[in-house]
């Protein structure tokens, strides 16, 4: 038994050695050589080769053991009749644990701005904005299964609605809020109409194109959107004409965003188990079967896009009010990818998962300033690794199940 174990171990080492050699070869020109074509200097960075060699050796070893563990776990789950509830889920299921936890979180959120600086509060507000964005995109991607890679266009629609309305008519935050949501919803329906017939990857690429077109138009149509320089001097939301300092305004916005979050969570949660929510789920699982069940496919797709983009529009208005400045550079494809990763990493369709995902993805980079150069690099790796080892996200969504209790005679 032990010799078998040892051979297996040795084999693993050999395998990792081969992989590390391969990666040393693969990364050689880009990692080791750096040319300066202007001054004709070649820089040889041999140390990088050693780092890559050692790093890939250990990582491949780790990878192997992780995938082995994954297979073993999957077998275990199969043995347990496919029931796979994570720890967090079990906690969420227990009222005794979950109510006090919720209480602690509530107290913490309320006192947060009074104990931390304006800067911290502002970051928290951003994280809350992404929670709402993530939950909004979740309606389209997680529930309806329509991959939307141009979600940022609706976000931009909301932000620009407020900016332009203020610029031309002096309209304030509270009137712009529903109008921004309306503009985003209309844009969502406008996008949904032509893509109704498309599925899967075609849909993904068209929405991506749509997002890019929106950005390009905003960048180039100077008369309409003031081009790349954007619009500045947008006022923060007011409260009965009260004069507020920057700190007070930030705290006010923070509480507003908490309110929005609670409303969003409430609405999305109700939506999930409603008639529309179940229709969206049916659409995701199988389009043809969904139609056969008597669901109007066209209408439900339009609903999904409209519902999803409304939230983006709302947050867009808040974004414009928070930064007091909008320009097209804030609405790139990367932003869409970011929101999508929140949904995917958190767990598609799972509300607590998305909330955790948003906080992780927004707050971690803020507090890991030292790694800011490597931020996107790590981000990319995490996306790949998550998909391979935990495709259901941090907290997987639990399908509503119905149980029959047979009465005993």
């Amino acid at each position: 038994m032990s010799t078998l174990h040892a051979t297996k171990y040795l084999e693993g080492l050999k395998h990792s050695a081969v992989i590390s050699l391969w990666f040393m070869f693969l990364t050689f020109p880009i990692m080791v050589i750096r040319v300066n074509t202007i001054e004709n200097i070649i820089e040889w960075r041999w140390m990088n080769l050693i780092y890559i060699g050692c790093g890939s050796f250990f990582l491949s070893f780790l990878w192997r053991s992780l995938s082995e563990r994954g297979t073993r776990k999957r077998k275990l789950i199969d043995a347990r009749n496919g029931e796979d509830r994570s720890l967090v889920q079990r906690i969420l299921g227990e009222r005794k644990i979950y109510l006090p936890t919720l209480g602690v979180i509530a107290v913490f959120t309320v006192i947060f701005p009074f104990f931390f600086s304006t800067y911290q509060t502002s970051i928290m507000t951003t994280a809350l904005m992404y929670v709402v964005l993530g939950l909004g995109l979740n309606i389209v991607v997680g529930q309806a299964g329509l991959l939307n890679l141009g979600y940022v266009a609706f976000y931009a629609a909301g932000a620009y609605t407020y900016a332009l309305l203020y610029q031309h008519f002096g309209i304030g935050f509270w009137i712009a809020l529903p109008l921004g949501a309306l503009a985003a919803t209309l844009l969502g329906i406008l996008l949904a109409l032509p893509v109704l017939r498309l599925q899967g990857d075609y849909l993904a690429i068209v929405t991506l194109g749509f997002g890019e077109i929106t950005r390009i138009v905003l960048e180039n149509w100077n008369e309409f959107s003031f081009g790349p320089s954007g619009i500045s001097g947008i006022p923060r939301p007011g409260l009965f004409d009260m004069e507020m300092s920057l700190h007070e305004a930030t705290v006010y916005l923070y509480f507003l965003m908490i309110l929005f979050c609670i409303i969003t969570v409430f609405v999305v949660n109700r939506l999930q188990n409603s008639r529309i929510g179940r229709a969206l789920l049916a659409l995701r699982e199988d389009e043809i079967a969904c139609q056969a069940m008597g669901i109007d496919k066209t209408r439900i797709k339009l609903t999904a896009f409209a519902l999803g983009s409304t939230w983006a529009g709302l947050v867009g208005v808040v974004f414009a009010a928070k930064t007091t400045f909008v320009n097209p550079a804030s609405f790139t494809f990367l932003e869409s990818a970011m929101i999508l990763s929140i949904v995917v990493l958190g767990g598609m369709g799972s509300i607590p998962g998305i909330i955790i995902g948003a906080f992780l993805l927004i707050l971690l980079p803020e507090y890991l300033r030292a790694f800011s150069d490597y931020r996107m690099l790590i981000f990319g790796i995490i996306m790949v690794i998550m998909m391979i080892f935990r495709p259901q996200g941090i907290i997987r969504s639990v399908r509503r199940t119905y149980k029959f209790h047979r009465e005993e005679k």
Binding site: W22, F23, F25, L26, T27, P29, I30, M31, I33, R34, V35, T37, I38, N40, I42, N48, S67, V141, G145, L147, P194, V195, R197, L198, G200, D201, Y202, A204, I205, V206, L208, G209, F210, E212, I213, I216, V217, N220, I288, A289, A292, F333, A337, L340, S341, V344, M348, D373, Y374, M376, L377, F379, G380, I381, I382, M383, V384, M387, I388, P391
Partner: protein
């Protein structure tokens, strides 16, 4: 007329480059039904490798055609190696997963590769030496077509013919076609599907590297971000022609190249990137399976 022919040649050049990249997308899609988002990055890495090798060789005293040949060979090998590795790391473990997982993994890979080059090399634009030789035969036509454009168009045409021959007449090509048609059936008749997938990635990446060298010589500068927009446009071209279809990808790429060239020439150069997407949306509305794609009926 002069302006028109200038735009025409420009469109043809653009279209040729898009075709080289689009082929990688369409072949991969044909085999495993995946949008390989990282394909644009492979093209960028090809261009970077060529630049590095060419600079090292030039500085050590070599010149002329040998630099071009060596740099291209190394770039093609490295791009193929990257394509192969990306498939093994990011896509192969997800063969059985739902449709969304490999796509997100691909986006992650794309972000990773971009930042890898950004950190290991430079965030700035690097000047790319024009490796392509000046052709003296073309001198009487200099107003019409430059030698770089000529080389791009001719080499693309040659590569297309070679690729068609490869797919139509070799054993490997036959295995690829079989896998694209029906993966399970191909496995049953003894095709090594995993090897076919790897081969597809290798061929597609090699083509992307050639495209990378050609366009970098044409434009004269590269940075880590060139792969993203080129990748999206090439993918647009592949969808335009009907994804999965090889002649479709070439046709789509040419249509896209001409649209962009004439669009910027006659309408407005500000919206260069928007034309591609507008064209894509229009074609997909009226012909959802692309120009040469065939509609597959769904069964329940």
């Amino acid at each position: 007329m002069d302006y028109f022919s200038e735009l025409f040649v420009g469109g043809l050049t653009r279209g040729s480059i898009y075709a080289l990249i689009a082929l990688g997308y369409t072949m991969v899609y044909g085999i495993i039904e995946l949008i390989n988002f990282a394909h644009g990055e492979i093209y960028m890495i090809g261009a970077f490798t060529a630049l590095i090798v060419a600079s090292v060789l030039t500085m050590s005293g070599m010149s002329g055609l040998s630099v071009l040949v060596l740099a291209s060979v190394v770039a093609v090998i490295y791009s193929a190696a990257y394509g192969f590795t990306v498939e093994k790391v990011a896509y192969k473990p997800l063969r059985q997963a739902s449709r969304l997982s490999p796509l997100i993994s691909a986006i992650g890979m794309s972000i990773f590769l971009q930042n890898y080059v950004l950190l290991a090399q430079t965030p700035d634009f690097l000047p790319f030496p024009n490796l392509l030789p000046e052709l003296t035969i073309l001198e009487p036509y200099t107003g019409l077509i430059g030698s770089t454009e000529f080389i791009i168009i001719v080499s693309t045409a040659v590569i297309m013919v070679l690729l068609t021959l490869l797919i139509r007449y070799t054993r490997m090509g036959k295995a690829m076609r079989a896998t694209a048609q029906d993966r399970n059936m191909a496995m049953l008749v003894g095709v090594n599907v995993n090897r076919v997938t790897s081969n597809t990635f290798i061929i597609g990446s090699a083509l992307a590297a050639i495209g990378g060298i050609l366009i970098a010589s044409h434009i004269g500068r590269i940075n880590f971000y060139i792969g993203f927009i080129a990748g999206i446009k090439a993918f647009t071209a592949a969808v335009l022609g009907g994804i999965g279809s090889i002649p479709g990808a070439v046709l789509g790429a040419l249509v896209l190249g001409f649209t962009e060239s004439f669009g910027t020439g006659y309408v407005s150069s500000d919206y260069e990137d928007a034309f591609a997407f507008i064209l894509l949306i229009l074609i997909l509305i009226f012909k959802p399976s692309g120009l040469l794609g065939h509609t597959t009926s769904q069964k329940v």
